[in-house]
């Protein structure tokens, strides 16, 4: 059965070819490829170090996406009527629609959730860079923006602020794991 949230999001996609302008949910979007996003993160890590690069990417991703999710939720009765689990499912489907990869929500246990992705687009991009450009196997996770997007999804689904949601990627395919694993805690 079609997910009404996804159908609504799809219906909101607008393209103005005269300006090369794309809008989703009333907000301006643009297509980029994994090469750009992985290279930007590598550049930030090289200069700022991995911890600051992660914080910057995750915060920028979560703050911006939460604003969009809030706006989308406010105009979507189906979202407002759904329970938290249904909201989370809908929001992770939105992430798939946008091309960020699939995320499965496993082991939901009270305030703790384990999320798993075998197709995080950043991991896919990094793995391609390993093959093509000889990038090394990482020692630490890489999917910073997906951490931020999950933080925004949990904040939107629970109605809490971003500070109440912690997301940590504990295993990453770029570091040799089979899946990218994200531990989510809601305070």
């Amino acid at each position: 059965m079609a997910n009404p949230m996804i159908e609504k999001l799809k219906a909101s996609i607008a393209v103005d070819a005269a300006r090369s302008w794309i809008s989703v949910g009333g907000e301006e979007f643009a297509y980029h490829c994994d090469k750009f996003n992985t290279r930007i993160i590598k550049g930030l890590e090289d200069v700022l170090g991995p911890a600051k690069a992660r914080e910057l990417i995750m915060r920028t991703a979560s703050q911006n996406l939460l604003e969009m999710f809030k706006s989308f939720a406010a105009s979507t009765p189906e979202f407002q009527a759904a329970d938290t689990a249904e909201k989370l499912t809908g929001l992770t489907e939105c992430l798939k629609l946008l091309g960020f990869g699939a995320v499965a929500l496993d082991k939901m246990d009270g305030s703790s959730t384990q999320a798993r992705s075998t197709t995080s687009y950043l991991a896919e991009g990094y793995l391609e860079n390993m093959q093509r450009w000889g990038w090394p196997v990482r020692k630490a996770p890489f999917c910073y923006d997906l951490e931020g997007y999950l933080q925004a999804a949990f904040a939107a689904a629970t109605g809490k602020d971003l500070a109440s949601i912690s997301v940590t990627e504990t295993q990453c395919r770029t570091a040799g794991a089979d899946s990218c694993i994200f531990e989510v805690e809601v305070k």
């Binding site: 393209v15 301006e28 980029h32 590598k42 550049g43 910057l56 990417i57 629609l97 960020f100 391609e128």
Partner: protein
């Protein structure tokens, strides 16, 4: 222009630019695309410059961002030019370097980055100049900060060099891009970019 600038966007969009229902990945034109908020794309770059120390470190910060974009342009557009979609839609119409640039422009104009409205490729001088209408940086900046004192379209600047690396070079960073006029400075909606071959130091490569 031999490459049809009308048909290609239609064909591009008809491919369905959503992530796959199972994997959530958007593999098109030989690369993995994703659809990000412009507020994220520009916001992370400006935040990076701020964390680097702002004005005092702007030059080196901009180099990091432009370099990433130039590498990206090389990897992205070489992937696109090797893809089955390119082979089917665009390659048959290409008979010259100018045609190849037409093809790159047609694809670029589908991505939501702003629209390349005109360009001049001088193969003899090894220079490229192009105008972008509605660069996604400009509206973001003007709405938040008013006019800028300096050009801000870092991704486009890298792409300018990246186009030339692909069209007339043999590796990344043989060319360098520059934003010579930015809508964020003028308050208008056009930005102009130029790319030229990097000069060899002391006659060495």
């Amino acid at each position: 222009m031999v490459v049809n600038q009308q048909e290609i966007p239609e064909a591009f969009l008809s491919l369905g630019l959503y992530g796959d229902e199972q994997t959530g990945l958007l593999r098109r034109f030989g690369v993995i695309l994703n659809n990000s908020q412009v507020s994220f794309l520009v916001g992370r770059e400006l935040e990076f410059i701020r964390q680097m120390g702002g004005e005092s470190a702007r030059s080196v910060s901009e180099k990091v961002l432009i370099d990433a974009a130039q590498w990206c342009a090389n990897a992205t557009f070489s992937g696109i030019m090797a893809s089955p979609e390119w082979a089917q839609m665009i390659e048959p119409t290409i008979k010259s370097v100018q045609d190849r640039m037409d093809g790159l422009v047609a694809i670029t104009n589908c991505l939501g980055w702003g629209k390349i409205s005109s360009y001049k490729l001088d193969e003899a001088k090894q220079e490229l100049e192009f105008t972008v209408d509605y660069s996604y940086y400009v509206d973001y900046w003007l709405k938040r900060y008013g006019k800028s004192n300096y050009p801000i379209c870092y991704m486009w600047t890298g792409v300018a060099g990246g186009y030339m690396d692909l069209l007339l070079g043999s590796k990344v960073n043989e060319f360098t891009g520059e934003e010579v006029s930015c809508g964020a400075q003028t308050g208008g909606n056009q930005c102009v970019f130029r790319a030229k071959r990097l000069k060899k130091k002391f006659g060495l490569s």
